[in-house]
Symmetry: C2
Subunit: 234 residues, 2 copies
DNA sequence: TGCATTATTATGTCTATACATAATAACCCC
DNA sequence: GGGGTTATTATGTATAGACATAATAATGCA
């Protein structure tokens, strides 16, 4: 069984995937260990490890020390979705981006930023080809970012300014939908009650909140992504 | 500069992340090459490579041969979201899962499955604690999966049967929202026009479509995920 | 000057070896 | 037989060295 001599990890990954899809290794089954597989494929264990680890990262395999490697019972559909800067998202669609600040004032936020503290409240409208694209309702934590108080956010939007001046360590996103409130319907070029897509995002720099933003998208918005990738060889 | 002697890739990754967040390596900047960094950290190049590659996978760095490694200009928020089996999603929330088949018949699908072919059309309702959770509208490609024709889908739901009998190689998901159609409003325990979250998913086995499913969730549904992970050391 | 060819360079990957670590299996003693 | 200790095992990771590859920079020629 030292025949095939596949010695690049992607080819090995493909072969392992093939065996999983072909049910040679059905869900839940423990597959041979790295040493044996490396011998079978005629490669080093490190290479085998690379291939199997990548598949484990993708959710296709489950690995545990001593217990071995098994095919995931529920080949969990793990999708990675990139959340782009709004400008980029619009320009990638070949549309012209524009931005309008609606309001900007200092106040005490409700809850999203954590314990009550002074924050900057910014509302704005992002447009694509002059048509409403998304309404932004943002709170910026002034105790984390005092320099934000000097920013007008009239030309440079808060999203991009924050990315340049306050990179976050981690964040938290929620996707939902709601009936557009009467107050925002006209801005988004629609009528009150129309279903709209909403994303609510909070970002932190270590333990301190940076910003919490809600984006209400104009009707028709959707997010698209993929699971896995089409196999190269058919 | 051979002092620190950090020789595990995760510690190195953290240190690199620290430098990025601390703006020692601002966005867009090219960072030293692997050989130099390995020397600085007192580790092997392979270890340095592992750390930097992981960060590149996470979207924090951009790497190109010869050009070198640079800090991503837009630290693209790359979220990985797991799309679970509905039963699991419901049971994970501590609720009791139940399933009701609504209809099942053979017909020619519209477009989602590709060129017109015979398909099985299944509609069903997923419930959590007996309350409507999601309405499922699914087409199963019978030319790819003829054995699906013999499945009643009365007890075992199509989602789980397909996972067990027809693993997919890749797929495609779209998240959006809409006003619930009058035909489904009652089933979902709501009134026509209410905004509801919708996911449309198509999966393939190599070049052949397996199934295309639309899930209309009951009002209030949302998807939650995170970007990055809270730093260990604060 | 402009274009094609050739060096250079940083990342990408593979190898063989070694040790660390977590988890199970085996064992031994009471 | 039960419970705690030890051995075994598979993955996880680190290392040094080597070659592959892509992309840029330098060079040379018309």
């Amino acid at each position: 069984m030292t025949q095939p001599q596949i010695n690049n990890w992607q080819a090995i990954q493909n072969e392992v995937l093939r065996r999983i899809h072909a049910r040679e290794w059905p869900p839940g089954q423990v597959i041979p260990n790295e040493v044996d597989l490396a011998a079978e494929f005629g490669c080093a264990r490190a290479t085998m490890n690379r291939a199997l680890r990548a598949l484990a990262d993708a959710g296709m395999l489950e690995r545990r020390r001593k217990a071995g490697t098994r095919v995931a019972l529920h080949p969990v559909s793990r999708a990675t979705l990139d959340i782009p800067v709004i400008r980029q998202e619009i320009e990638d669609r070949g549309l012209k981006y524009s931005y309008n600040l609606i309001a900007r004032n200092t106040a005490t936020p409700l809850a999203s930023l954590g314990p009550a503290q002074k924050a900057l409240h910014v509302t704005a409208l992002h447009c694509a080809n002059a048509a409403p694209y998304a309404y932004e309702d943002r709170w910026i934590n002034l105790s984390t970012l005092p320099e934000a108080a000097n920013q007008p956010f009239t030309v440079i939007n808060a999203n991009e300014w924050l990315l340049m001046h306050a990179p976050f360590t981690h964040g938290d996103i929620r996707f939902s939908c709601m009936a557009v409130p009467a107050a925002h319907a006209k801005r988004l070029g629609t009528t009150p009650g129309t279903p709209v897509f909403v994303t609510q995002r909070t970002t932190w720099d270590h333990a301190r909140t940076i910003t919490s933003v809600r984006l209400i998208f104009a009707p028709g918005y959707s997010i698209h992504t993929t699971i896995g990738s089409p196999p190269l060889a058919d």
